[in-house]
Symmetry: C2
Subunit: 152 residues, 2 copies
């Protein structure tokens, strides 16, 4: 990990930097509809940005489950293509784990696509386990891997 | 409003009834990416379905703002084409207002598209006021009308 890398809580202004690059970071896939601004307005205390100097290196958008008081959820996280392989994702996730622990959450959940083997491997390396693979999870007919990680 | 209309709290199973009809209810627009299952899992206590008998008449997905303790937010609501003009939307919104009040929220916010004049008029009729029109609000370059309603 670069010594110049910092992670801080995000705010609504960060959304204006993140939104224009999301599709590009996902190799041209249309992802932005899944990341409305509300995550940076109403869940800003569990959203984070990683920066190297003034460059946006990555971001994470999550929340504390409203219905399940023991759970936190990571909805969306991405690392700039130019900053991959340097621990940016791990740093963002660990910040989220710390905040979730402070807020008395004992499990973190997330959902990814089984076809995205790099994502599944990334989550396993961070201590997530696969709970199940669900069919037609988010409405477009795609399978999703449901993963969770206990917080000590 | 029909005498046979009921509103109840939603659960994750309701998502499997709602997801297949969302695009159709919006006249074929691709809306489902904006409504992931998480709203019916992690914000189930502020999600509601309206039914007439066993028919799905409408639904609402909202949340209590995590960052702004006075605020609640309505993310997505829809009424079946066959049930429009009968107060289904109002019933769903009023249930949400009641729950938000119980949870000590004093303002409800929502965002809609200025081109959707019917939506803006619906919200005005329910006591919402337009706070601002924001450019490029949700990342695809579209304008959005930001509306809010005080809770008594």
């Amino acid at each position: 990990m670069s010594g110049g890398l910092t992670v801080r809580a995000a705010d609504a202004a960060d959304y204006d930097r993140i939104a224009p690059v999301v599709d590009e970071w996902w190799g041209g896939r249309a992802m932005i509809d899944m990341l409305p601004r509300l995550f940076f307005v109403h869940f800003a205390d569990t959203a984070f940005v990683a920066e190297e100097g003034t460059d946006l290196a990555g971001f994470l958008a999550g929340f504390l489950s409203q219905t399940r008081p023991d759970e936190a959820y990571i909805h969306f996280a991405g690392v700039s293509p130019g900053h991959r392989g340097r621990g940016v994702g791990r740093l963002l996730y660990e910040r989220f784990f710390a905040v979730a622990r402070e807020r008395s959450r004992t499990v973190v959940r997330c959902v990814t696509a089984p076809v995205n083997e790099r994502s599944v491997a990334f989550h396993r390396a961070l201590g997530f386990e696969v709970d199940t693979v669900a069919q037609n999870y988010d409405g477009r007919g795609g399978d999703r891997v449901l993963m969770s990680r206990r917080l000590a």
